[in-house]
Amino acid sequence: MTQLAHDRLPCGVEYGVVSLPHRRVVSFQIMVLAGAATEPEDRLGLAHVLGDTLDKGTELRSGRELSDAFDAIGASTGTGTGREAVTLLCTVLPEHFQRAIELHAEMLCRPTFPEDAVQVNVELARQELKALEDDAHSFMDKLISPLAFGPLLGRHPLGERETLDALSRDDLVAHWRSCFCAERMLVAVAGPVQPSQVANALEKHFSAFGESGQSQGRMPLEAAFTPGTKHHAKQLEQQHIGICWPGVGYTHEDYPVQRVTLGILAGGMSGRLFTEVREKQGLVYWVDAWHSTPRGCGMLFMGASSTPDNCAKTYETMLREVDRLAKDDIDPEELERAITGIVASNETRGDLTRSRCNEMANDLFQFGHPVPIEEKLAKVQAVTVKDVQDYLMKYPRDSLCVVTLGPKEFARP
């Protein structure tokens, strides 16, 4: 079994380490549990703008100097804002790990949020919000999320035009003060590092970060599903379909069954959706099914894009295949393929250090502790045909949310 370490430091930071002695790089993720769902209702987009402004100046360095310092160690970095967390990603050569943590600490603990940088990042967020509509899949995600997850977890990280207009530097500073602290941090590390090295570096650099007692952000947030149909008219070549219904979350005992069920439905090219919608009928180029799991809940999604004349047939076939899964026999060989798909994908991607880091980060975020990959895969491998059928009875698709985007109002058959 892989060596996993996990602890919570006196400073409040929770960390997990996957020790991989022979790797050439170290990857780490810092999650600050202060995503879009923590924003005030009239300041949507705040967490995203804050995430983008963190590296634009610190008490020690200008934004350019900070970027140069990261480049001096060849760090590959990125920042992303999601509904529940702001996540900072980094991959470096092992000899630069300590320095990379130090620079991240400087950015998180001592940002200055220069006024001009705040204004620019608000303006860029406004532009990105408009640009979102030039990519049908991204736009569909924005349209369906509030219906799938409700007003908190369904927020889009880019916010809304009106709320972005209201954002000021004071809002960023206030949000940073109230939500950015060591106790809201989860740090996952993978690579040729010792857990003690990680602990020492984190304790050293984050010991005075934020006020103690700010441990909010660790509880699941309330999700609210809104069934129904919604069409967004737009002059496009294709009609884009999004369908969702409630499933289970990442830590739920039925989660491994949900993964396998999705594997049967949409795993690989032999999955039922690809086979029935694309291979047999040629109705689409893209069709897929997936799940999205904030802490404490989960939603199943299906999506497809087809020209308007093919839309109704595509929609009918997608739902028919879900129903067929519940009603007809599942071939044991089909089940086996879905399981193999999950296991093999995990093992091949496991060669990537950043993938191992991501797995650890997800475990800390969802379970609150690391779970050996062998344990998770064993649960997937134990799934039976009956488990899948029971799952489909327990979580039927009888209450749907359907969103369409495109040139034609779509009448559900």
Partner: protein, 412 residues
């Protein structure tokens, strides 16, 4: 260090290239067909890509269903893609499964292109074309290719046109396939935890009986056009502004230099990032060196609010002028090199990433390069080589300007 490569040529001309990676648990294998969109004639634009889809549709041994089922029995990931220069079919699996992966891919390379699947798949391709037309960046790239390489096969869209794909027959595709997918125009590439002797044995067993065609690839570099071209598409919100200039091809000594110059200009922590994006003019502006086998372009590419198009163009031109007139600072070069070292270290742990690099090196250079050799090429880049590059390939000239978006700008 020990050479991790094994190169072997079968009697029928099929080249086999293997990189051993003893520290990983997986392996990736792929067949490179040295044929792509630029090898098509105008009326058959899109045949390479359509054929790539049809290669999954049946062989003497397997139906399309059996092909997809067999891929999914192995798990991991698999796919194929078509570019201007080549078509590539690959799978990334657990190392113990690599022989099955190679057998399956090899079987696919002897497709029968089943007639009964042809029209259904044509529908899929037409949907793919429609999907691209709803995506601003894709529309812009196709428009730029069409104009910059006008009159040359590099100007065809990889997916083809709706008309050419609709008009394509199975017989036309079959003739193209017979000529271009012979073993003397294919290559089997494998990277990961593998035994080279075993792989060569599989290659002999599965591919040794294939007949060569003696096909020759006749490629000529295109003329790279300047001028201004505008595509007004009202359904989009943003405007793409792009400047394109001649650059070096993939095997030129200045290949890494061109790439470093583009990164200094338009990568992370670049001049574009600080002087254009962080000036609020555009949320995404970048610079890319786009190399082909025998030519290349350097592209400055930005998206903005339609009303900001003039400002974006002016800002890109200004930075292009400065980098041509004033030598870049050594610190800027060093930053690019440092990041490249990290990205190469990441690549070295991923069989699929190594497979892609091997494919490119074998196709363009005829020999693989180790990560250490690539690092040496990166280390050879200096402020002086960048200055020499811009003297030979200046970007403070007109170049080609493309504007794509809701605004009919500039007036031509």
């Amino acid at each position: 260090m020990n050479d991790p490569y094994t190169l072997h040529k079968l009697d029928n001309g099929l080249q086999v290239v293997i990189e051993e990676m003893p520290d990983v648990r997986s392996a990736a294998a792929g067949f490179l067909a040295r044929t792509g969109a630029r090898d098509e004639v105008r009326d058959l634009a899109g045949v390479s890509h359509f054929l790539e889809h049809m290669m999954f549709k049946g062989t003497e041994k397997r139906t399309w269903r059996e092909i997809t089922v067999d891929f999914d029995r192995l798990g991991g990931s698999y796919n194929a893609f078509t570019s201007e220069d080549r078509t590539f079919y690959y799978g990334w699996v657990r190392h113990a499964d690599v022989c099955h992966q190679i057998e399956l891919l090899a079987d696919m390379m002897r497709s029968i292109i089943p007639e009964e699947e042809f029209n259904t798949e044509k529908g899929v391709i037409l949907e793919e074309i429609a999907q691209y037309k709803d995506h601003l960046t894709s529309v812009a790239y196709e428009f730029i290719q069409e104009k910059v390489f006008a009159g040359h096969s590099l100007s065809w869209p990889i997916l083809g046109h709706k008309e050419t794909v609709s008009g394509l027959s199975r017989d036309q595709m079959w003739a193209y396939f017979r000529e271009r997918y012979a073993p003397d125009n294919l290559m089997l590439i494998v990277a990961g935890k593998v035994d080279p002797g075993e792989i060569i044995g599989f290659a002999e067993e599965y591919c040794g009986g294939w007949e060569p065609s003696g096909t020759k690839t006749d490629r000529k570099p295109p003329e790279i056009h300047g001028g201004t071209d505008v595509l007004q598409v009202e359904k989009f919100n943003q405007q793409i502004v792009a400047l394109t200039f001649p650059s070096v091809g993939a095997t030129h000594d200045w290949h890494e230099t061109a790439s470093a110059a583009a990164t200094i200009l338009g990568g992370d922590n670049s001049r574009f990032f600080w002087n254009i994006m962080q000036a609020g003019i555009s949320p995404h502006t970048s610079a890319y060196a786009v190399p082909y086998e025998d030519c290349g372009v350097l592209m400055l590419f930005g998206a903005c609010e339609p009303d900001n198009a003039e400002k974006l163009l002016e800002a890109m031109r200004k930075e292009a002028d400065i980098i041509c007139r004033e030598k870049v600072r050594q610190a800027e070069v060093d930053r690019v090199k440092n990041k490249r070292r990290t990205s190469l270290a990441v690549e070295a742990e991923a069989p699929y990433e190594r497979l892609r690099q091997l494919m490119e090196d074998m196709d363009y250079r005829g020999a693989p390069r180790t990560v250490e050799q690539m690092l040496a090429d990166v280390d050879a880049v200096t402020a002086d080589t960048i200055a020499d590059y811009f003297e030979r390939y200046p970007i403070n000239v007109d170049g080609h300007l493309a504007s794509v978006g809701p605004r009919a700008w500039p007036q031509v």
